[in-house]
């Protein structure tokens, strides 16, 4: 069984600042990390591998500076790592991003299950997983909290608006897993040294994936950003209720009873 895990390398949100004058996002000096939900996707894949064997391949799109994060995933237990990297991929919206990722996964055919995190912490669009599934022509099951392979079938527990359901599908399929649905394992110390020093990572560029410039990145995108602004919040009273515990609670009671 071949399991492919899609990983996004995202900036640490608390370090990202917005320049109100220039209306741009200040990324300089901001550290990156593996998107949390994608770590849950990796753990879900490794669990399946632990239970019944298989091969886990992690795949990410981004600049060569993302390599250490893929090596970290290998240290956690992934067998192989692919970086989709080309200057032409930059500036992509979910349409162009999903197209490149799907082409990278297609090179790994035959695969059985593709796993993604439910959303990225920076964009939070949740659109890349279903879009990749459509490019690949495979069924898609989202918000999975538990995943098991039962014979030929893939059984997934997922959340919907007011409840939960169990869905069955047949691989090849793509699933997105819920943030926090499992506890990602720590990298193995010895494996980490091997991953950092000896492991050979594979990189695919524009030509490797058979694209031309107009297919990908900014040019291959279907949407554009016309402006950025800080989220407006309504003005609030910001009245600190003070006094003894009894006074505070009494005043709070008045506010709530009104």
């Amino acid at each position: 069984m071949k399991l492919v895990v899609c990983m996004k390398i995202t900036p640490k949100l608390e370090q990202v600042k917005f320049d109100e004058q220039k209306k741009t996002i200040v990324r300089e000096g901001v550290e990156n990390e593996i998107n949390d939900a994608d770590k849950n996707a990796l753990e879900a894949a490794l669990k399946i591998k632990d239970a019944q064997g298989g091969l886990v391949v992690v795949l990410s799109m981004g600049p060569p500076s993302f390599e250490p994060f893929l090596r970290l995933a290998v240290a956690m237990g992934a067998d192989d790592a692919i970086l989709l990297s080309d200057r032409a991929f930059a500036g992509a919206d979910t349409y162009a991003t999903s197209r490149v990722i799907a082409a990278g996964i297609a090179k790994l055919k035959p695969f059985d299950i593709v796993l993604c995190g439910e959303a990225s912490i920076d964009g939070s669009t949740e659109q890349v997983p279903p879009s990749v599934a459509e490019w690949l022509g495979v069924p898609y099951v989202s918000y999975v909290s538990e995943l098991e392979v039962a014979g030929e079938k893939l059984r997934a527990r997922r959340e919907i608006t007011d409840g939960r359901e169990v869905v069955e599908t047949t691989p090849p399929a793509l699933v997105s897993v819920q943030l926090g649905c499992n506890s990602p394992r720590f990298p193995d110390f010895r494996r980490k040294r091997w991953a950092d020093k000896e492991f050979k990572l594979t990189t695919f560029n524009l030509q490797d994936l058979g694209f031309s410039i107009g297919d990908v990145g900014l040019e291959g995108s279907r949407t554009e950003v016309t402006g950025l602004s800080k989220m407006r919040s309504p003005e609030r009273r910001k009245e600190f209720i003070q006094g003894t515990d009894e006074e505070i609670v009494r005043r709070l009671g008045q506010v709530i009873r009104r």
Binding site: E159, R222, R237, F240, L252
Partner: protein
């Protein structure tokens, strides 16, 4: 033909709140542009629901009725909605950003070769071009990107739950048309084998809400009791749901619901941007937090510095709920 197409989601014969909100906003935009509003509904035995959408402002409702569509399956629904869209060629396609709506939208955008704006918190028509502008929250909801679809049609957007008002009955009724499908059993590649639904008052519609965060520690029974004595609906911040202490549908903020309440009491929530973005439409916010510098106090009308697990029991007693 142009116009606006809204995908109407139903689960076990109940319309999703978010679809009714999208229908309401779709109606407003259709008036502004002077075009038709078309609803598309899929399921088994959805005739009555289709009629309801027609009464709530859709000029035409396309109803695809089949046992194969009884449950949501992203691939099968994509197939059917894509053919509905091709049949009426809309300029704008709107979908409520529920878990299922999001799955459908991502597949559909690729199938139709068009652009999609995700989880918008506002929609406008650009003067002059009549193009759809979507406000897309990013970086945890602290920043809003105004986006448009530069290539491909229809212009697609998923809409966050709770930001627009529900479509009300208009007194007139549009037409319901049966939409014939050519779907086969094998086209439905994911099958629901079990389902459990628990419907309560949706947090985004509630008049009063008590929201609990990590500061309540493992004593969630306290804010729940406070919700009970104040006749409020109960909600949580994202980390509580991530820890498995509360279901995801109770999450407030950019990955959950926006609130529209008159009064919200927020206890033990630090107030990150992804959370406070869900409070924008709330009339009065009360916040209790042990950290006087907590971000949540910048988004509150009444602020109390104190340990949630100590303040809440006293408040319950004050409000006549006895000892917690």
């Amino acid at each position: 033909m142009g116009g606006i197409f809204v995908f109407v989601e139903q689960t076990d014969g109940v319309l999703e709140d978010s679809s009714l909100e999208v229908l309401g906003k779709g109606k407003e935009i259709s008036h502004q542009l002077g075009v038709q509003l078309v609803g598309g509904i899929l399921g088994e035995g959805v005739g009555e629901l289709a009629e309801e959408c027609a009464r709530r402002g859709a000029n035409v409702v396309l109803a695809a009725d089949s046992p194969l569509l009884r449950n949501f399956a992203a691939d099968a629904y994509t197939e059917v909605v894509a053919s509905m869209v091709k049949s009426c060629d809309p300029d704008i396609l709107l979908i409520g950003a529920t878990h299922n709506g999001t799955a459908l939208a991502g597949m559909l955008a690729v199938r139709l070769g068009t652009g999609l704006m995700a989880h918008v918190v506002d929609l406008e028509i650009e003067p002059g071009t009549n193009m759809l502008l979507g406000s897309v929250p990013a970086f945890g909801g602290s920043i809003v990107a105004v986006c448009k679809v530069k290539k491909g049609r229809p212009q697609m957007a998923t809409v966050r739950t709770g930001v627009f008002a529900t479509a009300e009955a208009t007194g007139q009724s549009g037409n319901v048309e049966q939409f014939a499908i050519s779907l086969k059993e094998e086209d439905v590649r994911s099958k629901v084998v079990e389902r459990k639904i628990e419907r309560g008052t949706s947090v985004s519609k509630a008049e009063r809400v008590v929201v609990a965060g990590l500061g309540c520690k493992d004593q969630l029974s306290l804010p729940m009791k406070l919700a009970e004595v104040t006749h409020s609906t109960f909600g949580v911040s994202r980390p509580l749901a991530d820890k498995g202490m509360a279901p995801k549908n109770l999450v407030i903020g950019s990955t959950g619901s926006s609130l529209n309440a008159k009064l919200v009491v927020v206890v033990g929530v630090s107030g990150a941007a992804h959370f406070t973005s869900g409070l924008r439409n709330v009339e009065t916010v009360v916040a209790v937090n042990s950290d006087p510098g907590a971000e949540i106090f910048k988004h509150a009308d009444y602020c109390v510095v104190g340990d949630a697990t100590k303040v809440v029991p006293k408040l319950i007693a004050e409000l006549g709920g006895g000892r917690a």
